[in-house]
């Protein structure tokens, strides 16, 4: 039993199978567009998808508790629009403070979500759907339907400019923190425990409501940060920014092997899932697939990877079971 066959090793770990998917995907793209794997391109992949990658971490925590948050891009827009307007009306231009304000706005939005889900026992999709409209609506209201444009955020946008290291630093720090927290801290294990079995977690002394509130608060904070980052990267704030992109974040998690019913998923898997989504977004316009067919292809790839995930999971479960049989 100790000497697993190579095949079993491969199918035995979701992360490994994701790495293989990634390699296959990259090989396919590289063949179709030989200049794909260049330093510039790789840097652009991370920069253009920094928002999805950042928010995927929060979505991982939320989904681990069996929840979902579809209000994230609305929170993003509300936070981004706020810091865009702060600059437009010359109230504040300090990059650090702007990030702080964005994060606090997100944290507040997320905490409200969390309290309603945890204490009000409202289904997460319903509660966050309500706030999806509310925060998006607030973004329109505070902006009065106008944009904060490139010249309003000049200076601040240098942080996320093409070639600047700002977005990468944020991503690296966020992923390191989450990797450590989810793997080695009490809080991380509580999240997994709540997601696997709420009753058991409660009995073993975990404050379930507090844990659930916290994950939505964290999600909100990351969405708030992503809003600030978005304004910096795209050098403009629009009330409709990133509209519909919450689905990319959820897709990144699902591809990364995060279970929709909770309790299962890792930071590494989420990273790989987000990277696959990012590569798809970058590669589709490059490999010569006609614009109008790109969404179709994207959907097919997502489904194919998820189906592969399910098969891997089944194989794993079977192996675990057969190990238990005497």
């Amino acid at each position: 039993m100790k000497e697993k066959s190579l095949w079993k090793k491969i199918t035995g770990s979701r992360e490994v199978s994701l790495v293989i998917v990634l390699i296959v995907l990259l090989a396919a793209v590289q063949t179709l567009s030989p200049s794909f794997l260049t330093a510039t391109n790789i840097a652009q992949i991370f920069r253009n998808n920094a928002l999805t990658m950042l928010m995927a971490l929060g979505m991982l925590c939320v989904m681990l508790t069996g929840g979902i948050d579809i209000s994230i891009t609305s929170t993003l827009a509300f936070s981004g629009m706020t810091i865009g307007l702060l600059q437009k009306y010359d109230i504040l231009h300090n990059t650090f403070l702007l990030f702080l304000i964005g994060a606090v706005i997100g944290l507040i939005c997320g905490s409200i979500n969390g309290m309603i889900v945890a204490k009000g026992k409202v289904a997460p999709i319903i509660c966050t759907m309500g706030f999806m409209y509310i925060w998006r609506g607030m973004a329109y209201v505070i902006s009065n339907n106008a944009w904060a444009s490139g010249q309003d955020v000049a200076g601040f946008s240098d942080f996320g400019k093409d070639g600047a290291i700002g977005p990468y630093i944020i991503l690296i720090i966020a992923y390191i923190i989450f990797f450590v927290v989810m793997k080695w801290t009490k809080f991380g294990r509580q999240i997994y425990a709540v997601g696997s079995n709420k009753e058991a977690a409660a009995i073993s002394g975990i404050n379930v409501k507090k844990t659930i509130t916290s994950v939505y608060a964290i999600m909100g904070m990351l969405a708030g940060l992503a809003g600030v980052l978005s304004v910096s990267i795209y050098a403009s704030a629009q009330p409709n920014m990133q509209y519909g992109k919450e689905m990319d974040v959820i897709a990144a998690c699902v591809i990364g092997g995060v279970s929709m019913s909770g309790g299962r998923g890792t930071v590494v898997g989420t990273f790989l899932g987000a990277l696959i989504i990012a590569i798809i977004a970058k590669a589709l316009p490059l490999v010569g697939i006609s614009s109008i067919a790109q969404n179709f292809v994207k959907g097919v790839i997502i489904l194919a990877v998820v189906v592969l995930n399910v098969i891997t999971q089944r194989t794993m479960d079977k192996q675990n079971l057969s190990r238990r049989e005497i």
């Binding site: 567009s33 200049s35 391109n41 652009q44 253009n48 928002l51 409200i112 309290m115 309603i116 204490k119 009000g120 026992k121 309500g130 706030f131 509310i134 609506g137 607030m138 209201v141 505070i142 009065n144 944009w147 444009s149 490139g150 010249q151 000049a154 400019k161 093409d162 070639g163 978005s230 795209y234 050098a235 403009s236 629009q238 920014m241 990133q242 509209y243 992109k245 977004a281 970058k282 316009p285 490059l286 010569g288 614009s291 109008i292």
Partner: protein
């Protein structure tokens, strides 16, 4: 019991959040209302002079209804309209409805009917909903034209169209011709693949370049779609640069796309230059003749000129110089002569303002604060 208390508190929080949303809408509403109030003041001042003038010279009263208050674009339209009417010695009434809805405009139309104005120029918030109110106005002998957005053709005499498809296509292809130096590769970055306006403009560009040997040196390599989304537009622009190393010009006839592409080109210090249709306020950062800027010039319509054309059209209608029939022509002061052309579906006439307005390094500072 505790649970119940908590859920009540939470419901209260949700309700409060909703109210907060409403409250800020509420607080913005008075701001919007204040604008018509300000506009109403000059109108009231003007009213007595009209009464004084009416018996003598029969000077007419010309009304303009914009889409809504609080939008600098509408203010500029009104500015142009007022300027012309004042210069002609007529009485000008400008009304900004408090909300950009047909309902708000209907209320304004009815009050103008009872004031007995000679003409109404309106930027319609709905193509159909205004019909009954406009019919009532026409029955009262008021001449009606539309500007910016049309209503169904039988509700008005004619339409002042700011963007003739042909004119936009011509301006864009000429810009591409100019910026490429007459030959080379160019790409188009559009909004969505179903966007009606963009598709019409792109088709017109294609038709013009195919039909004229002058443009034979231009090669359209791809029409990419950024879905009016910064992230996707950025991806598409980067892909265009990578796929076509010899690309000279990107033409983005959409406000989101052009801003995203401008940022990509400028950040990378790319030699590819950009043109298209964009908002001056969004593009000010990127417009410049030197290598440090990605967009030498771009286009959009000039709302002041649109307001002026609507004023001249109203005057011509009131004077009986035109009736709104296709083929009618009139002189719009220093803007030159205009002829009414038929709509594509043959249902009525329109007046096309002219080629779109060019925003370049010389005038962008003046326009960036406008809209």
């Amino acid at each position: 019991m505790k649970k119940r208390v908590i859920s009540i508190v939470l419901s209260a929080v949700m309700a409060a959040a909703l109210l907060a949303g409403c409250a800020s809408t509420g607080s913005s509403a008075p701001a919007a209302e204040s604008a018509p109030a300000e506009e109403a003041a000059p109108a009231e001042e003007a009213a007595p002079s009209e009464e004084a003038a009416a018996p003598e010279a029969g000077a007419a009263t010309y009304a303009l209804i914009t889409k809504s208050a609080g939008n600098p674009y509408n203010e500029k339209e009104a500015e142009g309209f007022q300027e012309v009417i004042d210069a002609m010695g007529g009485t000008c009434i400008i009304q900004h409805p408090e909300a950009a809805t047909a309902d708000a405009q209907i209320a304004v139309i009815q009050s103008l009917i009872s004031q007995g104005v000679s003409s109404i120029a309106i930027a319609a918030n709905d193509a159909n909903a205004l019909s009954a109110a406009l019919q009532e106005a026409a029955d009262a002998g008021i001449k009606i034209c539309t500007l910016d957005s049309d209503v169904v053709a039988d509700s008005r005499a004619t339409f002042c169209n700011q963007a003739g498809v042909q004119e936009v296509g011509q301006a864009l292809i000429d810009a591409v011709y100019d910026l490429t130096g007459g030959e080379g590769q160019y790409a188009i970055l559009s909004a969505t693949s179903q966007a009606t306006n963009q598709n019409a403009w792109i088709d017109s560009m294609k038709a013009i370049s195919e039909g004229d040997a002058k443009y034979a040196g231009l090669e359209l390599v791809e029409v990419a779609y950024g879905d009016d989304e910064p992230q996707k537009s950025t991806d598409q622009t980067q892909a265009l640069l990578q796929k076509y190393p010899d690309l000279k010009v990107i033409c983005a006839p959409t406000t989101v796309g052009i801003a995203a592409a401008a940022k990509v080109l400028q950040d990378q210090g790319s030699s590819v230059v950009l043109t298209g249709l964009g908002l001056p306020s969004e593009m000010a950062e990127y417009i410049g003749a030197d290598d440090a800027h990605s967009c030498p010039y771009m286009f959009l319509w000039n709302p002041i000129d649109l307001g002026r054309l609507a004023a001249y059209t109203s005057i011509a209608l009131v004077n009986g110089d035109i009736t709104g029939a296709v083929g009618d022509s009139f002189t719009a002061g220093d803007m030159g002569d205009y002829t009414l052309t038929g709509l594509a579906d043959g249902s009525g006439s329109e007046i096309i303002l002219g080629p779109p307005f060019q925003f370049n390094p010389e005038n962008i500072d003046e326009w960036k604060s406008v809209y």
